[in-house]
């Protein structure tokens, strides 16, 4: 009977253990779910932009254009006055204050938008056309339903008059949402409706590229040497331990190193992807060396012997046979290392990539931002428009990470299975 009881207890323990596991996994999924839902509910609205439809007369006098074929004149025409006059004309107002309130409903870049429009529609000069102009951040948020209308006027960023205009414009069907291409093509801006992470994506791309160019060959060679050629003695043991330790060093330490050596001693350009990439490659090196060594170790010794036995030299045996076989594992390790580098913020803050960069960087030597730093920058901004952009940037970053990690898994499975 005692035996019966014990068996029962054993089954119960097993059941209990499974329940614990299920609870743990459910909790994990629950939290991840909250995180993802929060990011998506905050961020999806950043992918659209509110536009105000306005009818304007492309008045040659207002623009100051006498000859449509004069490039210089078209280039320097007074688009500002054109929009200012035509837009304020379309809405009735009674004093200067109200006029100012009307024009601030538009994003400050309207003159450039008008110019872009005109350059594409030169033949419309003198005619009345319908043009879409980007609305200001507050108007944008109002239209997206993120603007609290029911608080007292003096605590709102939009006045009663402006709300009235909004309602009127909506009634006239003059407010529309379009896909926010600015988000992908523009750099940072003080105005949320004009800010984009295009510059940050390019900055991240250059940074990771530099990181890859520096860390992959060095890490591969280090791994090959340590695994295949180095004598097994005290020194190599010490190196091995240090590599493992370096993988665990907080990334900000690499940032300090980059600040101290690369910026202060070598005087490389501040805030650039070049320096960021070098700092990140220091961090990534051990993270590639370790999986690379593991994959080299996993290549059966019989392959080395087979090559040596037909008269291959050690270097030939290693580079013709062992390294190619270790490549899938090494590559997937590299991609995961780069994915970690992509999400790294601290070292980049230290070397000044946290700067406010409006221009999209054209090379690794230009000041630039990066995706995680952009998240950091925007998350500190108070405007509701930046809240959604922060989440949108996180979505972008997560997207890149998911793509890179799937690539790593793919590389490993596709190429490792091939021969076995």
């Amino acid at each position: 009977m005692n035996k019966e009881l014990r068996r029962k207890k054993r089954y119960q323990a097993e059941k209990r253990f499974q329940v614990y596991g299920i609870i743990a996994i459910s909790l994990a999924i629950f939290f991840v779910g909250i995180l993802v839902t929060k990011i998506f509910s905050d961020g999806t609205s950043a992918f659209s932009r509110t536009m105000i439809k306005t009818e304007i007369k492309l008045d040659a006098d207002l623009l100051g254009i006498t000859d449509i074929n004069n490039k210089d004149e078209v280039e320097n025409a007074d688009y500002y006055t054109l929009i200012y006059d035509e837009f304020t004309k379309s809405i009735p107002f009674s004093n200067d204050e109200e006029e100012k309130q009307i024009i601030t409903l538009l994003s400050p870049d309207y003159e450039y938008e008008a110019k872009d429009f005109f350059l594409k529609n030169k033949d419309q000069l003198g005619k009345t056309v319908t043009i879409l102009l980007t609305a200001s951040d507050d108007f944008d948020q109002l239209h997206k339903g993120n603007f609290p209308r029911d608080i007292p006027e003096d605590r709102r960023r939009l006045s009663n008059f402006q709300l009235q205009i909004y309602d009127q414009l909506v009634k006239e069907n003059k407010v529309t949402k379009v896909f926010n291409n600015y988000l992908f093509t523009k750099g940072d801006s003080r105005d949320p409706e004009l800010a984009g992470f295009g510059g940050a994506i390019i900055g991240s791309f250059f940074t990771i590229l530099i990181c890859l160019i520096i860390s992959f060959p060095i890490a591969l060679m280090a791994a090959v040497y340590l695994e295949e050629f180095a004598p097994k003695n005290r020194i190599t043991e010490l190196i091995e331990i240090n590599i493992n330790n370096l993988a665990a060093v907080p990334s900000i330490v690499y940032g300090l190193f980059a600040l101290g050596i690369l910026l202060n001693v070598l005087e490389l350009p501040r805030s650039t992807a070049l320096v960021g990439g070098i700092a990140l490659s220091l961090m990534t090196l051990p993270r590639i060396i370790i999986p690379a060594r593991a994959s080299l170790k996993a290549v059966p010794p019989s392959i080395r012997e087979g090559a040596l036995a037909v008269g291959a030299s050690k270097v030939q045996a290693v580079f013709h046979h062992v390294v190619p076989l270790a490549m899938p594992g090494t590559l997937s390790g590299t991609i995961i290392g780069l994915a970690q580098a992509l999400g790294e913020t601290a070292p980049l803050l230290l070397i000044g990539m946290v700067a406010f960069v409006v221009e999209i960087p054209g090379s690794p030597l230009d000041p630039s931002s990066s995706l995680p730093v952009q998240v950091y920058l925007w998350s500190e901004s108070a405007e509701r428009g930046f809240v959604e952009k922060t989440s949108a940037t996180i979505m972008m970053l997560l997207g890149f990470l998911i793509v890179m990690n799937s690539l790593a898994v793919y590389a490993r499975q596709k190429f490792e299975k091939k021969w076995n």
Binding site: S302, L308, V310, G311, A312, S313, H320, L325, K418, W419
Partner: protein, 258 residues
Amino acid sequence: MELNMNREAKVISKNVDVFYGNKQALFDINLEIFKNEVTALIGPSGCGKSTFLRCINRMNDVIDICKISGEIEIDGFNIYKQGVDVVRLREKVGMVFQKPNPFPKSIYDNIAYGPNIHGIAQNKQELDEIVENSLKKAALWNEVKDRLNEPGTGLSGGQQQRLCIARAISINPEIILMDEPCSALDPIATAKIEELIDSLKSSYTIVIVTHSMAQAARVSQRTGFFHLGKLIEMDETDKIFKNPNNKMTQDYITGRFG
């Protein structure tokens, strides 16, 4: 059994000692291996027969802690002399391992690798010929001629081992070392390899390490018996199996120990 009367020693081992760190694995090995014959090395596990085999093409060099003293002469030339190029030595002394170890490449590339790195073939046509001849000599050609571009690792165990033999003879060595080449194979594949060994001995000098005494008796002309790192006895295979001089050899081949 017909014996080649004017025998010529291809490999001569003189006072060979091998140490793994502090442990001595071989004690004063003196023996001769004759040209165009199959020499079998037998003995219980750990007796040092594989270690000795790997001395002949200096494969033990790969192991850091392995130290070798004494001389091994091939065609009168000491391969342990300073400045010997192991790459050229291994061009002359091929090896086939216990577990088939084809490269994870195509059948063609497996054979072509050796000739390629040694620059034996002048052009693609010559390379094709070498591949074909090597596979024919290894009695594998008919089985794989239509799928030379398929991975060598996709073949059966016995075919893989014959592929490895073809790979070894692709660079036209003079000596082929075989380290228990059939221990991972079934009896039918084993029979094929043994047949192959017999046909190869006219062109090559073959040294085979085996656990199977029956195999040694079937394929070899001479047999050496190793025990605890010492060469106990070496003589004509017939004599070793029918009338050995040493009591220990007698006990081993009759299955009393090992």
